[in-house]
């Protein structure tokens, strides 16, 4: 009985923890998207469907279910990046993807349990992407 109770509590904590990370992630992404300025209107697409669903509910963010119709891709996995979408602006959710996808201009990822944001300054400039003042503290010259 006691074991069962502990198991139930652990599952609840785990779910609460996942929810907490997701909520946190969405909130940060919302700030990032709002802090980015492209030369065209930002229409977000993500290979993470649950993330896209949550973003869709945000008032000031326009989303698309098709990559091709978007202007900003939030990418979780490299394999999900379709060839016809390579021309889009790419923001990744994994630090290593910054090295893999040379075009990606920034990343949001969790390092040692803490959220980290990185914008690669040369890539921003080459793609005419500007970021708000608040995000400037996350600028890096290169991917380490």
């Amino acid at each position: 009985m006691k074991t069962l109770l502990i198991l139930i509590m652990a599952i609840q904590l785990l779910l609460a923890s996942n929810n907490s990370v997701n909520t946190h992630k969405v909130r940060i992404l919302e700030t990032i998207v709002k802090g980015i300025t492209l030369q065209e209107k930002i229409v977000v697409w993500s290979d993470n469907n649950s993330l896209l669903s949550v973003l869709k509910k945000q008032n000031n963010i326009e989303t698309s279910y098709k990559c091709i119709n978007s202007t900003l891709i939030i990418l979780e996995k490299n394999k999900n990046l379709k060839e016809e979408c390579l021309s889009k602006k790419i923001f990744v959710l994994n630090y290593n993807l910054l090295s893999t996808i040379k075009k990606s201009f920034g990343a949001l990822f969790w390092k040692k349990g803490r959220p980290n944001i990185v914008f690669i300054e040369p890539r921003l400039k080459s793609q005419s992407i500007s970021i708000s003042k608040d995000l400037e503290s996350y600028l890096e010259d290169r991917v380490w």
């Binding site: 006691k2 923890s17 907490s20 990370v21 630090y95 969790w110 390092k111 040692k112 349990g113 803490r114 959220p115 980290n116 944001i117 990185v118 503290s137 996350y138 890096e140 380490w144």
Partner: protein
């Protein structure tokens, strides 16, 4: 008594509950304390290790500032070597171990990362928000961050790597919540033991509460009469040992002619009447009074003596009034009821509860005898009646032939001869003493033993006088007169012996309860037809119906002793006696004055033309008939 038990149980459970809450809190506090002690111990060990690492990095490499440190770890091989060594410290509780450097823009960057998972690249930026990172640089001291909303992380330990007193890097370790699990595992058996103990004791308490609940439910069922919802006799037995009888009056209540209700309207109506009457009783009594259904339609009421409130007698009168004024309606029948009550206002004076109940019961009997719908209270005058010998005493005397007759002469002063004798019953006690009828007759009325006693007297007297020339008077009451067995005995004995019949008089109590005048007259006529005479006994003591007395053509009127005993001094009694004699003369009846106990009384009676005299002054009752020469020998 019950209330005390309940309060004690409640306090006991409450104390137990508080005790368990205290124990639980104590366990929780102990757990926190154990956590804290283990943490401190573990962190102290980490501090020693980190001190060694610091020495190894800074002194062995002659590092003087952070730039040199960055330069050192820019070398891939050196970095890997250090990370390899540091990774030896990783345990299930030490999840991440890394060296951070603060660059010129105050951004923290990884110089070393010994972590097996989620490994950072060299010089990769590390976003930290906690102020303790900055504080470490300001204070050059160890900082501990208690993590709250970070997955799997419980605590971050920041150790300053210093060179020449300046902080040049931070050696950081992230501890996982596993340390808590380890601590919990350590204390788990103890905690489980306490939890099991608490669960067991709480289950026991629940069981106890259920048991107590059922106990009180069962008690209620055992002690409550289901029809009236009043207490029953079981409850009486329960409270007898603890009842402070000096605080109560004791009343016995009985619904009048209840049997007629059952016979006339059926038992359902009877039950309805009982239930309704009980409600009326309850409304009529106080909160401290105790009402018990004692038998069929009999109720026992303990009335609490409260000096500020109405008296016990008033409570009883209120009950009588409330019952008699209520109209019972059942099955389209309107029924009026009455209740008789016998009350003993000081039951504590009796030897025990049973004696007190017996007294109240006898008072109830008197209330019934006196016409019902009334309350009769016990006083000392009634003690003789109440404390008379019981039925078994007479039964045994009959069985052992210890019932005898004494004979007191009735004197004719005009002829100076004994006119007749009155047969008076006595019982010879087992110790040889003579027991007067006052001590055993009151308890026998309407019982079968009374009839047997009457038959025995008839047998003794008629047997003694059948071969004599003397006359005798025998006492009978109305219930004797209408008893078939007694009637048969009289008729059998006198029908065959007319001589004896002519010498026998039957003294019928004037005060007796003669409910059926027609039947009474019929029985008197039977006695007349046998040739015997009728005497009205104790005339003047009851509620004489002169018409009836005239109708039955009684031969004698025996004037009640209470009017005679003080006739020499009490003028009123004298006048009453004179009037009775005049009435008797007019009705052609002879008069007998009993209770002639002194010469003065005797002489006074000679002045009023009474016919016969009887009393101790003339002769006391004796076991044998006395002759004239033995009279006036006091």
């Amino acid at each position: 008594m019950v209330k005390k038990k309940e309060i004690f149980l409640l306090l006991f459970l409450l104390s137990l509950g508080i005790f368990f809450i205290y124990i639980y809190n104590y366990i929780q506090q102990s757990q926190e304390e154990i956590f804290s002690k283990i943490e401190r111990n573990k962190l102290k060990n980490i501090e020693y290790i980190f001190k060694n690492i610091e020495n190894n990095i800074v002194r062995d490499n002659n590092i003087t500032d952070s730039k040199e440190l960055v330069k050192l770890f820019s070398d891939n091989e050196i970095r890997q070597e250090y990370e390899k060594h540091l990774s030896l410290l990783l345990t299930p509780t030490i999840k991440y171990l890394y060296l951070l450097y603060k660059d010129d823009k105050d951004r923290f960057r990884f110089l070393l990362d010994a972590s097996k998972i989620d490994k950072a690249n060299f010089y990769q930026k590390f976003d930290v928000t906690d102020e303790k990172y900055k504080k470490l640089y300001e204070t050059s001291s160890v900082q501990i961050i208690k993590q709250k909303n970070m997955e799997n992380l419980f605590l971050t330990y920041l150790y300053p790597i210093k060179s020449n007193g300046n902080v040049i890097a931070i050696l950081s370790v992230d501890l996982t919540t596993k340390i808590q699990h380890i601590i919990l595992e350590l204390i788990s058996p103890l905690e489980t033991f306490f939890i099991m103990l608490i669960i067991f004791i709480f289950l026991f308490i629940i069981l106890l509460v259920v048991q107590v609940f059922y106990y009180f439910m069962t008690r209620k069922r055992i002690f409550t009469d289901p029809l009236t919802q009043l207490y029953n006799r079981n409850y009486l037995q329960e409270i007898i040992p603890s009842l402070q009888l000096e605080n109560y009056s004791l009343a016995m209540l009985d619904l009048d002619r209840f049997k007629n209700i059952n016979d006339t309207y059926g038992h359902k109506t009877g039950d309805f009447i009982l239930a309704q009457s009980s409600k009326i009783f309850k409304k009529s009594i106080g909160n401290n009074d105790i009402l018990i259904r004692y038998g069929g339609e009999e109720f026992l009421l303990f009335i609490y003596k409260d000096e500020t409130n109405i008296s016990s007698l008033q409570v009883c009168e209120s009950i009588i009034e409330n019952i008699s004024s209520h109209l019972f309606q059942f099955d389209n029948n309107d029924i009026k009821m009455q209740v008789s009550i016998g009350i003993h206002e000081n039951p504590v004076l009796e030897k025990n509860m049973n004696e007190a109940i017996k007294v109240a019961d006898k008072m109830l009997y008197i209330a019934k005898s006196e016409g019902r719908n009334r309350v009769v209270s016990f006083d000392e005058k009634l003690r003789t009646i109440v404390h008379s010998k019981d039925i078994n005493y007479v039964k045994q005397a009959l069985a052992e032939n210890r019932v005898v007759c004494y004979y007191q002469p009735i004197f004719d002063y005009k002829t100076n001869k004994i006119y007749k004798y009155e047969a008076l019953v006595r019982i010879i006690d087992s110790d040889g003493s003579i027991i007067s009828p006052f001590e055993f007759l009151p308890g026998l009325k309407h019982t079968n033993i009374h009839y047997k006693l009457t038959q025995r007297i008839l047998s003794l007297v008629l047997d003694k006088f059948k071969n004599s020339t003397k006359s005798v008077s025998i006492n009978l009451n109305f219930s004797d007169l209408i008893n078939n067995d007694i009637e048969n005995s009289i008729v059998t004995a006198l029908k065959e012996n007319r001589d004896l019949a002519s010498r026998v008089s039957f003294e019928i109590l004037e005060s007796d309860e003669i409910t059926d005048i027609k039947l009474f007259k019929k029985k008197i006529n039977l006695i007349h037809s046998l040739g015997s005479k009728i005497s009205i006994d104790d005339f003047g003591s009851g509620y004489a119906n002169f018409r009836t007395i005239l109708d039955i053509e009684a031969n004698y009127l025996k004037i009640d002793g209470s009017l005679i005993k003080n006739i020499d001094t009490n003028e009123k009694d004298f006048k009453v006696v004179k009037s009775i004699i005049n009435f008797a003369n007019e009705a052609n009846m002879k008069t007998i004055a009993e209770f002639v106990h002194s010469k003065e009384v005797y002489n006074k009676l000679l002045t009023v033309d009474v016919d016969f005299l009887q009393g101790y002054y003339i002769s006391e009752p004796r076991s044998e008939v006395v002759e004239e020469e033995k009279l006036f020998k006091i």
